[in-house]
């Protein structure tokens, strides 16, 4: 039986420090040549306050909060997010997921990303279901 959750449950927050080195490796791994992620002087020319985190990196960290918080009995079937503001490296980020609807084999969770000053940088929704092997 998969671990069950109830509406209102909050998964363990995922705390992460995004560094310039991580941004470089993420650009390399995704073959992303966009300079705002690895060329700080260029990023500032575009009006950024430093190296901008990739939106997909922020999404990946948010999804990790879900997958690691729920464990292998659950899988993400849909994920939607929007960025409220850019984030610049180095950045101490906290991702939090809260269950907003729970049935036997599926759930909906709200996701947020906060910086140390408590500002909301990102918000999203994940839909999950039990994995086939875990379905009773």
């Amino acid at each position: 039986m998969p671990v069950t959750f109830e509406t209102g449950d909050v998964l363990p927050p995922l705390k992460h420090t995004a560094t310039a080195l991580q941004l470089f490796r993420y650009s390399a791994a995704t073959w992303n040549p966009h300079r705002i992620h690895f060329d700080e002087s260029y990023a500032r020319q575009e009006g950024h306050a430093g190296l901008a985190l990739h939106s997909h990196l922020r999404a990946a960290l948010a999804v990790r909060c879900i997958t690691e918080g729920l464990g292998p009995d659950w899988q993400v079937t849909k994920f939607a997010y929007r960025l409220r503001q850019p984030v610049y490296a180095p950045a101490d980020l906290t991702y939090t997921a809260r269950v907003t609807a729970a049935e036997r084999n599926r759930m909906t969770l709200e996701l947020t990303e906060e910086n140390p000053s408590g500002e909301l940088g990102f918000e999203g929704t994940a839909w999950v279901s039990t994995t086939a092997g875990a379905t009773p």
Partner: protein
Amino acid sequence: MSFTPEPGTPLATYYAETQPRVGAVLSRRTIGLLDAVTIGRYAMTIGATDPVHHDAAAARSAGYADVVAPPNLLAAIVEWGTGTPEADLQPDGTPNDGETPLGDPGLGLRVMGAGEEMELVNPVVAGTELVLESTLAAVTPKQTRTGTCVFVTTLNTFTSADGTVLNRNRRTVVLRNPLQES
């Protein structure tokens, strides 16, 4: 009356050229074989240590045919294959033939990711031959607290070579005028 970018600005030129293409299939192409190293490197960079991303035996024990990609890997990779020669990249480094139309390089538009809706239909495992179809879904100008923007949404459907849908992603980027013209 709907909002449109100020006439004479690069964003107005972009909007006039791109909005009429909404609904068009931008590309449909085989993008190559997804290998275990690509999956492992992606998982490494995001800090995903679950063995299903790194170890084939662990992945098989979990019911996958091979190591499985973290959920947004397909969405995140910008260029497939060898990519664009440096001389052909736009001044901001972006490739001009990506899934999202970014306008003539001379417009100097600034681009950033704004969000995405990902429908994760089937697991994405190493050894899959990938096909990507991109459709221009929406081109929407907005006035925001940081100035005039155009939000561009593409529907990116990833399938395997046998036609099995893997991901159906609605990706949105935001375009802004060059800094001096904002």
